[in-house]
Symmetry: C2
Subunit: 343 residues, 2 copies
DNA sequence: GTGAAAGCGCTAACAG
DNA sequence: CTGTTAGCGCTTTCAC
């Protein structure tokens, strides 16, 4: 049997209430008693029993992170979450799902009573069903990379990202800008499309559905494989784009593969812009829109913790801006080329 | 207040003991009562309070996964862990560290009394200090991607992997085979080196320390950045290799970058073999040794659960074999070339 | 300041 | 088959 506060109390000739007080550095305890208790606790190697604490306190020290796919994006976000959580006494429960249905069952588990104090719900659209579950739960929830009126959220401005990406393609001389989308059900993906449409419209270019291809499979479609399939499909159509905006870097890698197989050169035949700026791919030469993934994770966790500790409060909706990173899969901007020729 | 077994008991006019029995589908309960209780529980939306259960049962439903770095390797392993765990009532606590010191503090948290029933300790060398902690803890531990006599473990045969990789390089005509290592403190990395040495020795080639470069930084060195730095260092030395075995794919990407910057072609100037076969990199053309990462995670979890449920039992040491995947960063084997010329 | 005592929600003998 | 009764280890009034 492990050492409990009873053991400490006995050794220190005080009651368990006192031990509990000093351990929680709560109200007035004689300095002498405090020292003695602390010493004995240390000596005995005392460690509080989390379940007992949670039961008595009627709360939990667990934060559940629910996410719909396991990609590099998530890896970065999780790093941010972990770093912030490490500074607290919370621990992180991870629920990895592979599709919408799995998200539901994982969420159910995460929301089980007494399980988690807070939930970080990532990237998945907050459907009515999920919203219901989230609201009925006693857990504090923060959304990241997805949005819903009724919950605190932290997102990257995907519309802006789509806009900037598409605009970059237009500025570098692309006339037929295509779009390779992940699942249209995915919120970030749908938002990026809106930015794409807006950029084209602003430039006076008509949106051509024939240049838009999306992943119709069950998953979320942010994978290399999805990008490959979707690009192949696009290339099988009569009109060929001279530039494509792809809704994630991983997909973009698949797009590049499809192009290679079709004997197409980048950026000469088709320029490519991704989204995310995954560290591992930074040297693949992919032009992309950088998302502050780590910061997103860390910030969302920060907010969650604050809500947990100070009894909720207002729900904010924070928006991070993505940043265009130009590398080798797009041409230089026309203006830049002109400037260079000046020299 | 949430609904408890007392509420159910009252509504069903039975005792809480009976409710508890049917909820745990334990011994003989009248079918009629069982039905009624189940119905009411469902109707009330009852959910057991995990902390209360854990306290009463004197056990935990948590499995802690402790890992020293956040790379794609881990992502795959975690998928395996999650998939297996999803079939049980366990939940997964993730402790991500960035270096050895962080591993220690994360491990301490994971081992806190009553926290986790089992610990999956990944990739990190089991130092004496860790071994001590692990043994003193009441948690069941399983090692994955690392080894220690006293604990169950599941590893990939890294010596074999290093051997096969090096041998492949030799067979495809490399005369000066270099080695780009992650931290020599890392067990997998050190084992891969042993395989490298053995392959050279078996081929009658002297091991030249000047062709071996490792990452001396604080981290584990399995990153792109590390590979880049380490390769640059190697290239700055007088003797230049015509092939290198790199201890991970992520590092290999960095090696490729370093080569590009030095104007070196792959595989013409230098052949490259990585390790891992990270999905995202499968189309980067990297020749590598595939580790069954997902399987490793799933299997280790399987073992952990088995031990948890059937009161320990023997500790096995399972070894998975890595598989050589030849792509474009190495030349074709001489035999293959010969065979081709035959045609 | 400190102790006694009543739970937190659930499990598990032990009777019956 | 079912109820009674102790706890599990800790927190938290409420007195003293």
């Amino acid at each position: 049997m492990d050492v409990t506060i009873y053991d400490i109390a006995e050794r220190a000739s005080v009651s368990i209430a006192t031990v509990s007080r000093v351990l929680n550095n709560s109200t007035r305890v004689a300095e002498a008693t405090r020292q003695r208790v602390l010493e004995i606790a240390d000596e005995l190697g005392y460690e509080p029993h989390t379940s007992a604490q949670n039961l008595a306190r009627r709360q939990s020290n667990l934060i559940a992170v629910v996410l719909p796919w396991a990609t590099n994006f998530f890896l970065e976000v999780l790093r941010g979450v972990q770093d912030r959580v490490a500074e607290t006494s919370y621990d992180v429960l991870v629920y990895l799902a592979r599709n919408n249905k799995e998200v539901e069952s994982r969420l159910d588990r995460a929301l089980k009573k007494g399980r988690a104090a807070g939930v970080l719900f990532l990237s998945n659209p907050v459907t009515d069903a999920f919203c219901e579950k989230l609201k009925n739960s006693s857990a504090t929830v923060v959304l990241a990379d997805t949005y819903h009126d009724e919950f605190e959220s932290a997102v990257v401005d995907n519309v802006l990202g789509g806009y900037v990406a598409t605009n970059h393609l237009i500025e570098t001389g692309c006339r037929s800008v295509g779009l390779i989308m992940a699942s249209p059900r995915s919120v970030p993906s749908a938002d990026r499309r809106r930015g794409y449409v807006k950029a084209l419209t602003d430039a006076g270019i008509a949106v051509d559905e024939d240049l838009i291809s999306f992943d119709a499979e069950a998953g979320d479609g942010y994978t290399e494989d999805s990008g490959y399939r979707t690009m192949c499909e696009l290339l099988s159509r009569p009109r060929r784009p001279d530039g494509v905006f792809v809704t994630s870097d991983e997909q973009a890698i698949g797009v590049l593969r499809a192009m290679r197989e079709h004997g197409l050169a980048v950026p000469d035949d088709i320029s490519v812009v991704g989204f995310d700026d995954i560290p591992l791919l930074r040297y693949a030469g992919l032009s992309t829109l950088r998302q502050p993934m780590y910061e997103l994770g860390r910030f969302a966790t920060e907010r969650l913790i604050k809500k947990l500790e100070s009894g909720d409060g207002e729900s904010q909706h924070t928006v991070f801006a993505p940043e265009l990173i130009v590398r080798e899969t797009t041409r230089q901007a026309v203006a830049a080329v002109a400037a260079e020729e000046e020299e």
